[in-house]
Structure formats: structure tokens, C-alpha cells
Point group: D2
Chain length 336, copies 4
Amino acid sequence: MIVILKQQTNGEQIDEMVKWLSSFDVKVNLVQGTQKTILGLIGDTTKIDIESVKAKDIVENVQRIQEPYKNANRKFHPDDTIIEVEGRQIGGNSFNVIAGPCSVESEEQIITTAKAVKNAGATMLRGGAFKPRTSPYAFQGLRADGIELLLAAKKETGLPIVTEIMSLSHIDLFADVDIIQVGARNMQNFELLKELGHSKKPILLKRGLANTLEELLMSAEYITAGGNQNIILCERGIRTFEPKTRNTLDISAIPLLKQLSHFPVVVDPSHAAGITTLVEPLSLASIACGADGLIIEVHNDPKNALSDGAQSLTPESFEKIMAKIKAQATFSGKVL
Amino acid sequence: MIVILKQQTNGEQIDEMVKWLSSFDVKVNLVQGTQKTILGLIGDTTKIDIESVKAKDIVENVQRIQEPYKNANRKFHPDDTIIEVEGRQIGGNSFNVIAGPCSVESEEQIITTAKAVKNAGATMLRGGAFKPRTSPYAFQGLRADGIELLLAAKKETGLPIVTEIMSLSHIDLFADVDIIQVGARNMQNFELLKELGHSKKPILLKRGLANTLEELLMSAEYITAGGNQNIILCERGIRTFEPKTRNTLDISAIPLLKQLSHFPVVVDPSHAAGITTLVEPLSLASIACGADGLIIEVHNDPKNALSDGAQSLTPESFEKIMAKIKAQATFSGKVL
Amino acid sequence: MIVILKQQTNGEQIDEMVKWLSSFDVKVNLVQGTQKTILGLIGDTTKIDIESVKAKDIVENVQRIQEPYKNANRKFHPDDTIIEVEGRQIGGNSFNVIAGPCSVESEEQIITTAKAVKNAGATMLRGGAFKPRTSPYAFQGLRADGIELLLAAKKETGLPIVTEIMSLSHIDLFADVDIIQVGARNMQNFELLKELGHSKKPILLKRGLANTLEELLMSAEYITAGGNQNIILCERGIRTFEPKTRNTLDISAIPLLKQLSHFPVVVDPSHAAGITTLVEPLSLASIACGADGLIIEVHNDPKNALSDGAQSLTPESFEKIMAKIKAQATFSGKVL
Amino acid sequence: MIVILKQQTNGEQIDEMVKWLSSFDVKVNLVQGTQKTILGLIGDTTKIDIESVKAKDIVENVQRIQEPYKNANRKFHPDDTIIEVEGRQIGGNSFNVIAGPCSVESEEQIITTAKAVKNAGATMLRGGAFKPRTSPYAFQGLRADGIELLLAAKKETGLPIVTEIMSLSHIDLFADVDIIQVGARNMQNFELLKELGHSKKPILLKRGLANTLEELLMSAEYITAGGNQNIILCERGIRTFEPKTRNTLDISAIPLLKQLSHFPVVVDPSHAAGITTLVEPLSLASIACGADGLIIEVHNDPKNALSDGAQSLTPESFEKIMAKIKAQATFSGKVL
């Protein structure tokens, strides 16, 4: 941490500041310039609240030089984290395609879709039981019943299931779910993250639509702080000024998250663009630059879907795209 | 709602589409052009899921022409909503200043600060008991104890208290709180919003850092849908590319929210900018363009604050700013 | 400037780096930590290219601690710059309202509008002769003829005129213009800025729609570097994700630019929002937080305007708003 | 075009409106609802200024349903535009890699780099002679001399050259340049675009850092309106809130631009991220989702580069990346 002092600071004030900072068990180095004085802090500065330092009268600015996350940091965990789910691996050189409808709507719908995506080569099944919808008047999901139907589809197809949690009060309903998804809107629902830290289940953590990569990793850190290291990071598009796509897929997030962290990174091209014709190109791009998996919306009857029909693929188009995904994954050295 | 069909659509497909849309109890008008066909839907279209329409093969685009919110809409409630809190009014021509520390830290701190802000003219006391912090290693608030201390400060000063809820599992702890705040990160925590809809307490709903005004009003709609019409909207800055301020205060949100909705609108200049020297100019600007109140961070000792010290005012500087706030509020026709 | 070296850097590499940096006539202080080494550079670092430093193998990051602009910097010019235009002052405690149509369309239009805005209290006349339009098929302005008509309107009313330059090849046409405007799209047209630096005319420099305040000040620095210190900065809204307004007025830019720089700051509420009903509240907000002036679109017949009719006021509504602007300006200690 | 009228509009007003709109040679269809009246305009609406319609008292909103660009529109030009440059093709199934330094600095530098990139497989040479720099104190390029050196490098290697124009007053200097680049900051320098429309040279048009895809296509339309159809579109990252990358590469722009337009699309991964370690993954991603080429910064000695050293590759690392680029291009069905 570097503390830049204001121009007119006197010697006594500097001494007091150095004394205060030293009380946090860090070594403080003084660099005195003609105009400004800089303090360089050496040691573990995570205990120092950057805002408290900034609030001091004599401080002009403060810069962190160490990442504020530890457990999520690749510097301290050079090897890829590989997550085991029902005999499959996520991370390393494995590649996964998680497919299924936006919402679970009926037994027939979820089982038909599950069979179709399995046949096409998907490795896991997704489906929303609890649905975060902008409007209170929109379909809110089948809730507990939806989870039952997902489990039925798992029984039928053997595909592990991924579904979203919206409130920590529902956590008991997720006992048999294979991967718990934290949606973009809950990425900084810290009470929920803490609770999931006490679980052992893999958590698929989606980036919030205006959150930085550092904030995403800090949210992962919340989960790890509770003891759960099974985290899958998910890039799903950020909010920008461009109106042609629902969100802007931040493709650079993939290689950056892999550099900064050891967790697997998957991409959701369906939500990122909100347009079915972009699912294929964005999927191939994601694989080519290092993603560990994809989450793709597929609905047996998208025209009659109760939510997000516009971005769902039919089983037929999913099958065609899967052929290209497999080829690209193999080309990029991944095993699907 | 307007549905624009693709160029190559044939008569049979159009007939089928018109039949399907008519099944939602709306009247469908057909406008046939040389290149495109447009369907104009007349009636209550809130039951029609816009995504399902977009998913139809023959549909090029769909436009809503009615706002998707009703209870929050000024068109249906032309008069200002005025909220009563312990004998004070929020909305109409009343002006409120809610002041206090970011976090409640100790009895002495909150009571000293409460007395100071009351003396300076604040009408309500704010203070965080549950604190949403980006880092799991940062101070998380005194939680239940923090609420007790706020109630002690209320007893001492008579100021109604405003504090943030972070999880619906804590709701019982808020029984004696006067106004429950929903923070920016929870603006789309829909399970929490639903629960607060069943309460009768005033809810101070902060805009999420990348949420549109329409999304803010839809979140208000969630609360109203449960029966609670006591909502105060809060603009607190949005995330942009400008690095000099923590967030960018969207000042246009004030007059726009007042046009679109009947709820009172308050502004948080402390969080919007994250810089104490901007609290005064942003406060005056907010009043001049129609805000119904301000939320300002004041700490009896900001240099030693456990959170957000950099943006907190001292009681002395708050007092000076309050003099200007009172003058501007009076000038702008408000009663403080 | 602070240079943070990578963890594995050895002594020899550090020595070489210190030697290289010292060659720029700065003093280099070494702060050696357990994990990282930090170099603190003392002296005039503006000659050091930050990108070249970052490109060195052993460098992890580089931070500037001094602003990269000098002539525009209030630290070196504590007093407000006050610009004289035809006997009027811009800056200090003077307040100016520059009003007029988006485009000059005809002699009758510009003279009628000029008289109307003068009667209502405007102090200068604006009007576009060269118009930057997104579409090549849209009205591009009357060009040289438009400037002639503005000069005719000046003769008739005595109002100084402000109009936009779009290319340095047109500069001779601006010989009699009082203030030359550089539009948002040309804020980083550096060849144009250099040319205007050799002029003595006041330049009204608009912030680009995605430019930071530092970039705006660097563009001002380009003009000053040529010798022209007569600059008026203009905030006119930035591009964000919010769709209800054309742009988001960054109200914080006003006090920040006044802190960072000594140039007058004016605001364009018409372009910022793109909505006539927001012109009044945004104007009052701008004055309340310290603006030195406003640029407002007024058209004698906005319904038949050839450009930007939707955001133009009629002379009647402008007159009403001017009454409030005058009152707020007086209240805020400005002389209009 | 669809015009939505306000609720309280009376029959006479509607008749007048229909009459006015009809005067633009379009057919106006009236859809009268219980609350609102909608006018559907059929025919060529490009002559109608959307802002003038919005300015009418009785109009609530206006929606375009046709793209405002024609020459750039794939609907009217279904086949890919293929551009010939010195015997090479850009577009179709050809793939091009344009490589070279940010700035031309010396004869030795540009010729050494040109030979190196040619050996590695680059098909064209880039290099800045006129450099748009944020600071007036930074190296501004060798200007006319820089172009001479590029031509010398072309003579030596046979590589066609691409270089940026910053002002229409320099156009004569570009007589022997193969492809003229319009930089991001000049994407809406309409006077420059018009001038380039009268040229026959291929124009590489970079997207502005906060411009929409529609605005990019409208800028292309400006060039085509003058008669020049040789346009190469370039995605180079947009400005967002994410601080880890200089810009956010909008990867979706590639497939979208290919759908909307018939022009070739190239990507600049060096400027998009501003980080050398991201050049490889972003290049592969761009190819996988359909790009027609890449522009990559390579410098024979990036540590001593006069500009943008941090994002330049060495010839050695470029050679390694080129091997992967060739393999991915071949895999994706392109010929490099």
C-alpha cells in the first residue's frame, strides 16, 4: 500500500502518521520529495481499511499494490482448481456444456429438453426453479416444485443439475442440487454468499452486470472465507451503452480471470447477447480464448417458453451448434 | 404494444399470430406496408410476455408503448405520495435531511453523532447496523446490536431512524426501525422486496449502480404488489467510466422519477461522489432540481471511522452545509 | 510517479532500472519490501512516458501522482480565469446564458430567435452553421452562409455569437465569430485543437461523450500549449446505459472542474438530456452547484426545426425558465 | 416509422398530423386504441427527421423500424464486399494480419519490424505517422517523414501499408498509402469522412470508444455517400467501467456487423485490452467468431518504444502467436 501525503504536511504530522500505520504490523518506508511525501507500506496490509487512511486530513491519495483477495488469488494457488461433480470434472483440460431451459415449466418440458441436450452432447442440465424477474407480474418459476422436476430429469438422464438460489431461506431445498448458481443480481448479496461458504457444494457465481472482475473475485473470496473452495466463475455480459445486445460479453474476462485466479471460468452466451444467432459465434470465441465451459439456454419449444424465449435455442439448432463447439474445444486442447 | 413482423411473412402466418395475440384479451390492429407488417395491440398488454412474442419466428421486433409498472405510475396516481414517519412528512413540499454515520460503531459514537446532526437541523438519523462490504475481511457492522444502539439514539434525540436490511431472515430485528433501507446491491433482490411488500413500514429503495430508472420503478412495483405503498426512491449515483468520482450522480433521475412516479425522491450525495468536498454542491443541486430530501454521511470522528471515512463529514462541516441546505430548500419552496 | 516492480526482480535489474529512470533528471527512491520493490520518483516526471515504463519486463505497475496538465491546473493558477467577450465577462461571479437554435436555418429564424432570447435575458447567441449529424442524409447546416446570418443577428441585437467549428480548413470563416465552439465529437481532434491554440479567440470546449474529466483538461492543455488561454469548459452529458435521457448530465463535473482547473465551466442542459422538460431543473441544479453559465437551445418554431427540435424550447417557455434562472443565479451569488 | 400520440390528442390534431406526415410521400396508417393512437408510416422514411416528429406537441414517442443506413446495409447488398489491396483480398474467406509498431520512429525501426512481421506471416504493415496523443507533451509522430519511412518499408518487404489520417488537410500525403485508417477519435469527424468518400482508397474505419454499432455504420454510410465503397470496419474496444483492461473488446460486434453489413470486419486486440498477454486469446476468439483480420502492434524493441510500448509484442512473441493465429484461421475456414 502506498500513501501519498498532501504537499503542505509537516514533520510532526508525518511522524504521527507513520506511528499509526506501523501499529498495523507493517513496515513504513518514507520517501520525501521536493513537493510530496510518499509512504510505502510493506507487509500484510489487508487489515488496513483504505477508506480510513483516505479520511486522514494529510492524505492526498492511497493506492493498493496487492490484490485484496487471497484464497481466490492464483499467486498463492498456482494450480487450477478442478471441481468434481458426479464423476465429471470442471476445470483443467475438461470442457463442460451446461444446457437447458431458462425456467423449468413442466415435467414434460424439462425431461424432453434434458434428453435432447444430453443426446446433443451437453454434460449438465440447467433450469430455473426460482426466477429473478424484473416484473412482479411475470412468471416467477415453479420454485420448490421446479427443483423436484429437475431431480426427476436428472434421474432420467444422469445429467447433474445446476439451478439458481435467490434467498438463503431456501437453502434446504437445494440439498440434492449438484451445483448452486448465484445469479448476477445476487453477486453482492453478501449474506447469501456467507451462507454458501458453509456449504460444500460447488457454487456457480455469475458476475453482476456492472461489477468489476476484482469485485467478482471478492465475492468468490466471501464464499472461500467460509470454507468452500468449490467455485466456478461465470462471465455473462456487462451493461454498456450498446443497444443491439442485451449485454456486452466481456470476452477479456476469460483470460484475465484465469490469470488472476485458479477457479474454472464458464461463459453464458445466451444471456450475454440475448440473441439466438449470437450463441454460436460467442461460444466458439469463448472456447478459443480459454473458457472451461458454456451455459446455453435450450428449450424444447422456445416460442411458447414462459421466460426468455427469444434467446433460447431449439434442440435442433443446439445440436448443430454442439457439433461446432465439440470441434473447437478439441482444437483448443479441451476434452468435452 | 407494437409487433413488427419480418419482411417475408405470409398471410396465413399473420392470421395465426393475430389469433394468438387476441387470446390475451387485446385488440390487434393490422398495418400492412409494402415491406413490413405491423401489429398494434390495444388494451391491457401487461399479461403478454414480451420475450415470448420476440421468440416467434416471424417477429422482427416488439416495442412496449405502455410503462410496465402501474402502482408506481404517476399516470394512475397523479398526486404525490406523502409518507408519515413519527409525525414528520416525506414528500409533497416537506424536505428531509437524513444524516448519520455509515456504520454504527459504538453507543458513544452514534449518540454523539445523533445529537450533533439534530442540532444542525437533520430530521432523521441514519446508521448502518448490517453493512454490505466488498471484502469479507472488512468490518461487517454490529448487526443486531447496531439496531439496539440506533434505538437508543432515537430515544435520546427523538430522531426517527433509517437503517439497511441485507437479508429477509433479519426482518424481525427491524420491528422498531422507522424506515427500512434497501441498498443498491439489493435493489433486485426480489425475494426481499416481496417480503417488504407485506410490511407496512416505509421503504427507502436505493437505485442499483447499473439499474435503469424503469428497473428501479419495477422494484418499487414489487413492494407495492404486496400491498405496501410507502416507498421513498433514492438516487445514489450510477457506475460509469469516469474515475474521479466513486459513482456518477444521475441528477436527471430526480425530475424524471418525479414525472414518472408519485413517490418521494431523495438523493445520497455522499455515496454518489465518495468525496466530502462534493457533498455541498451536489446537495444544493439536488434541492434545486426538485429532490424531497438528502441522506448525508456524518461521523463524529471520520478519521477513525470503521467504514467510508473518506466520504463522511465532521459535525462541524455538516453544520455549515446545513445552513446552505436550509437556505436553498426555502428558496426552492420546500419546508425543512 | 511510483513504479512497482515484479516480485522476482533481482538487484542487478533494479540497479539498471534506477539508472535509466534517473536519466530523466528525477530522483529515484527505493522502497524494498519482503515481496515487492517500489521506486518513488521525485521531480518533474512529465517527460517520462508512462507506457514505456510499463513496457519494461520487470515492471508490474506504474502510478502517476501528479496531474499530467499544467497550464490548465488550478494548483499553478489559483485565480479564476475570466474571459472578456465584447464587454461581457465569463467566469468569476458573472453568469452567462447562451441561447439560440441548434441550427441556423434562415435569416428570419435566427433574427427572430435572437431578439426573443435577448428580450428574455440571454447574454449571448448560439446557432450551428456547420452541423455534425450522425446521418449523411440529414441537414448539414448552412455552413458559410450560416455564419453570415449569425453575424447579421449579432448586428441586429448586439449579442456576441458562439458557433461550432468542425474542421480546421474552415478557420478563416470564423474570423468574426466571438466564441468558437469545439463540439463533443471533436474534443480529441488534436490537429484542430493545435490550430485553435494559435488563435486568440475564446474557445468553448465541450466534453466528449465518453471522455474523462482528465482527458477534457488535457484537450484544454493542447489549446493552451499553443498560447491561447481563453478556454471555457462545457459539460454536456456523458453516455451511459440509462435509456430515458439522451445522455447523463455529470453534474459532479462542475465542482470538480472548478477544483482542478481555473477555467470557467458552463453546462448544456439541452443536449445533456435531450428532453425539453428537463431543461429547467437541470439548469437550476447546474447554477446551484457552481456553473458559470448555460447553453440552451431555443427555436422560434421548434416543431418545424431542421434539427434537434425535440430538445428546443419555444421563446415563451424560455422566457419563463429565464425568470427562474435569474432568481437562482442571484440566490447563488452570481451576476447575470 | 411508428409515431405514438399522446393520450389526450383530439381528432382534428390527428388529421393535421396525418396530413403533415403524408407530405413526405409515405402512407400513414392509423391505429386508434382506447388510450393511445398510433400512426404507422409505410414507405421510405429516411427523409423524415425523427427529432422534428418528436418535437410535435401531440407526439409521445417515435420508433424507427428501418435501419437509417442503406449503402452499408446487407439487406440491400447480400454479398460480402471484398476489397483488393495490392493483389491481396480483404473479406470473403481471406484472412489478413496487419502488424507493425504503434508509431513509426526511425528507418531502422520500421524496416526491422516490417521484415520481422513479414517473416512471421503478417500480410500488411501498420505504423503511425500522425499520432493522436492525449497529451500535447507526448511524441506526436514523425508525420510526413513517417509516411516516407513506411513507403520505404513497403519497398523493402512488399507489404501494403496502413496508416492513420488525423486531418483532411494532410490528405495529399496519403497518395501512396494503401489503406487509410480513420482512428476511433475521428469516427465522427464528418468533414474528414466526406473527403474520404471522394477517394477510391480503402478506408479502415475504427469504432469510436463510446459509439454504437449503428453509429459506426452511419459513419461508413458517410464515406459511401461520396462514392467510396471500400470500407473495412474495425472493432477496437469500447469504454466501460472495468479498470483491468484499457477498453472492453466488444466481441459481439464481429458477428453483428457481419449480419448488418457487407463490409469486412477486423479486430484490434492490442488497443482493445492494452495488455500484451491478452493479444493471443483475443486474437483467437476474434477469428473463431468470424473476424476477417487482425491489427496487432509489434515493435522491434517495445521497451524503448516512443508510444504504447506496454501493449506491443516483440517480434519473437508475435511469431509464436502467428503460429496459433494461422492454425485457428485455417480451422475456422479462412485463408491466411
